[in-house]
């Protein structure tokens, strides 16, 4: 008897960026072992620390919090994830440069879904409720 093929099969039609393989178990970008020197060109995925709706700006008319190419200092707000009518500001934990914004504005993100591609980052983003 062969095993049923039970790869993760995301069914959220509105989350096209979802990877077809199981993601890392933690939000921390552990793809790069700390012992290995990180080449400067390496990108790291910044993942959603919670499930909710992703917003790039505090309101529809406002400027986006961050843009591709921005160099981000720790503590800077990257985006908002709305859950239970609460706007949760997601802050950067350490310095890095944004190379891609993967999540789509005003669309849902799951826990662990990639939001940003980042360079020179060693820690995950964290969430703060406002």
């Amino acid at each position: 008897m062969s095993a049923p093929q039970l790869q993760a099969m995301p069914q959220l039609g509105y989350a096209p960026q979802m990877p077809a393989v199981p993601q890392m178990q933690q939000a921390a970008p552990a793809t790069v072992p700390e012992s290995r020197p990180t080449p400067p060109t390496n990108t790291v995925e910044i993942k959603a620390p919670m499930v909710g709706t992703f917003y790039r700006a505090p309101s529809p008319d406002a400027e986006s919090y961050v843009r591709v190419g921005d160099v981000i200092e720790p503590g800077r707000v990257l985006c908002i994830i709305e859950a239970m009518k609460l706007m949760n500001e997601i802050e950067a934990e350490i310095k890095g440069r944004i190379v891609d914004i993967v999540a789509e504005n005003a669309l849902p993100v799951e826990f662990g879904q990639v939001m940003f591609q980042w360079t020179n980052v060693h820690k995950s983003s964290r969430c703060q409720s406002r």
Partner: protein
Amino acid sequence: MFTKVLVANRGEIALRVIRACRDIGLKSVAVFSTADRDSLHVRFADESVCIGPPPGSQSYLSPKAIIAAAEITGADAVHPGYGFLAENADFAQICLAHELVWIGPNPKDIDLMGNKSEAKRTMIKAGCPVIPGSDGPVANAAEARKLAEEFGLPVMIKAVAGGGGRGMRLVQDIANVETAFEMASAEAEAAFSNGDLYLEKAIIEPRHIEIQLMGDGKGGCVHFGERDCSMQRRHQKLIEESPSPAVNAKLREEMGRTATQAAASISYSGAGTMEFLLDKSGHFYFMEMNTRIQVEHPVTEMVTGSDLVKMQLEVALGHELPKQKDILFRGHAIECRVNAEDASRGFLPSPGTVTTWNLPGGPGVRVDTHVYHGYAIPPFYDSLIAKLIVYGANREEALARCRRALSEFIVEGVHTTIPFHLQMLDTEAFQTGNVHTKWVEQHMEQQAKAGAVA
């Protein structure tokens, strides 16, 4: 009305709810932690959302994550399953506040029945027998004697602050009540710095009998007979069956009527179970009410031919309850809870990857499980991996099928309680239905240790 149900749970019960949704044309949304990405409930739901990391507090116990998942998927109802947030009145209230239909009882009834003394008061008012006991601490030894005379011997004296058997005395003879009271009080004072004691009638070697109920929230309520859950170890149920070998049609009718009256008195809505202790002379006493679907609901489904989870959904949709006279009992069902535990090592949890998984089949066999060949049982949650339910025309046939099914149920890679179930089935006491709630602890511990998994 609702059309899309978010199942706020994991494992076999999440899959059970998803199946019921599919059977009546409702859409389902599974939520999962990163540890459950490959679980069957994720696979078979119409949609699924990852809600957090493995710890329950950040996923299945997080109202915020679950409500957010409902919001992003457009689910308009929540089924909580059992465990996790199923009996959390605050969560039920949060769902209602977010305009989600809560597939369960009114939050105030969850609260009411979750509070032991309030539940007891409600039951007394509805005419349901409860274990007679002192109303709070007993003032002195003379008062204790008076109460013991009133309740009838034996009685149990227990420390209010108690635990671990200290400050506890079982009294068989009225002449010993006062001495026992003084000794227990001194013991409690020494152990807990609180000598307060309460006293209640002792039920010797009781059976655990529970009545399955379904209410419509408008004062209507029906029962589906009893389940006997006397085969338990440290309050963890191991085997459940219906009908109980100790309950005849007359007692079933009486317990069922008492339970439905009590539930109807609070206009209870949805599935619920009243748990009773049954003593040897056929007296029953209310213990507590579980305001949710229970793990062992399938045995009731087998003997009544009903689908209780589907009925939960239908009640929430406003459908009528079946008539009591149409709920008929036929045959005998037994459920074995198969846990990933090593009985030979004190029932130590045994997470890991299932390398062989052969499910039993044949007449009268049902298995509710979320596990499959190659599945990795995560260490974060409870150890239930499957429920084996067998049905027979009578208890004898059910027992034979149970033994046959357990012997076909082959699991490798992790330890399971299957060998222990076979040992329990082989005891004369279980075969003759002559057990009580402490029987497994008193008679099976040695066998559990000896019966290392082959």
